[in-house]
Amino acid sequence: MAKVKPRVKLPKKAEKGEIVTIKTLISHPMESGQRKDKSGNVIPRQIINSFKCEFNGKPVFACDMDPAISANPYLEFTAKVEESGTFAFTWVDDDGSVYTTEEKITVE
């Protein structure tokens, strides 16, 4: 399978108590299990089934995904930041693979 690459976009700096918007995108075919190949065999399902975002170890946002999510799943959500720290993002694949990335934010 093509290399799975997570991408995250969020502001580098924020004011205390500010609500920041976080955008995430991960390259993944999200094979729904509904499609058939040329000889009529069903292509087995392989999707990213869950996502979570934590800030300094505390849960911020999570999402359970079903096959109806488009390829290269995109998620946009918000987080309220009270202190400087690190956002940790985790995606879980049907095959058990886990993709992670981190992003720091500074509160002034």
Partner: protein, 149 residues
């Protein structure tokens, strides 16, 4: 106000057409969707309001339909939106995604992109921390379906 026979018939026909369309919308939800909804709400009766589902009226490509939900809530540790689920009635399996929020989310709002097999109603249901349930529905017309192939 008095009607003659012709007017009365026209009004009755209009009322009937309205009733039929209304009922059709209410009952279009497939069994699967109802079941998924029950599983999510735990039997609580969904109310309208507070939740807004945003999706295009016409989606040319059913493979990527942008969808966003937002729920009015103070989002404090005592009163927040626990989760929001999105269901697509006309898909082979109605579940699309379930968002889980915390007080640290700041706002109960999220967007993603989904697949829609055909023109259908999309439903968003929010579950609050006090157990109440809110629902919003939107019809999306799909030009080219996004499943199978």
């Amino acid at each position: 106000m008095t009607f003659n026979r012709r007017e009365a018939l026209a009004v009755a026909a209009g009322a009937l057409a309205f009733a039929v369309t209304g009922a059709r919308i209410a009952w279009a939800a497939a069994e699967d969707t109802k079941k998924a909804l029950m599983d999510f709400t735990g039997g609580a009766e969904p109310q309208t309001g507070r939740i807004t589902l945003d999706a295009p009226e016409i989606a040319e490509n059913g493979n990527t339909v942008p969808v966003s939900v937002s729920v009015e809530s103070p989002m404090t540790a005592e009163d927040y939106v626990e989760s929001v689920t999105i269901l697509a009635e006309g898909n082979p399996s109605p579940a699309v995604a379930t968002f889980h929020f915390t007080a640290m989310s700041g706002e109960a709002a999220a967007s993603t992109r989904m697949r829609l097999a055909k023109t259908q109603n999309v439903i968003a249901v929010a579950k609050m921390s006090d157990g109440s349930v809110f629902m919003d529905t939107k019809e999306v017309k799909v030009t080219i379906g996004g499943c199978g192939g």
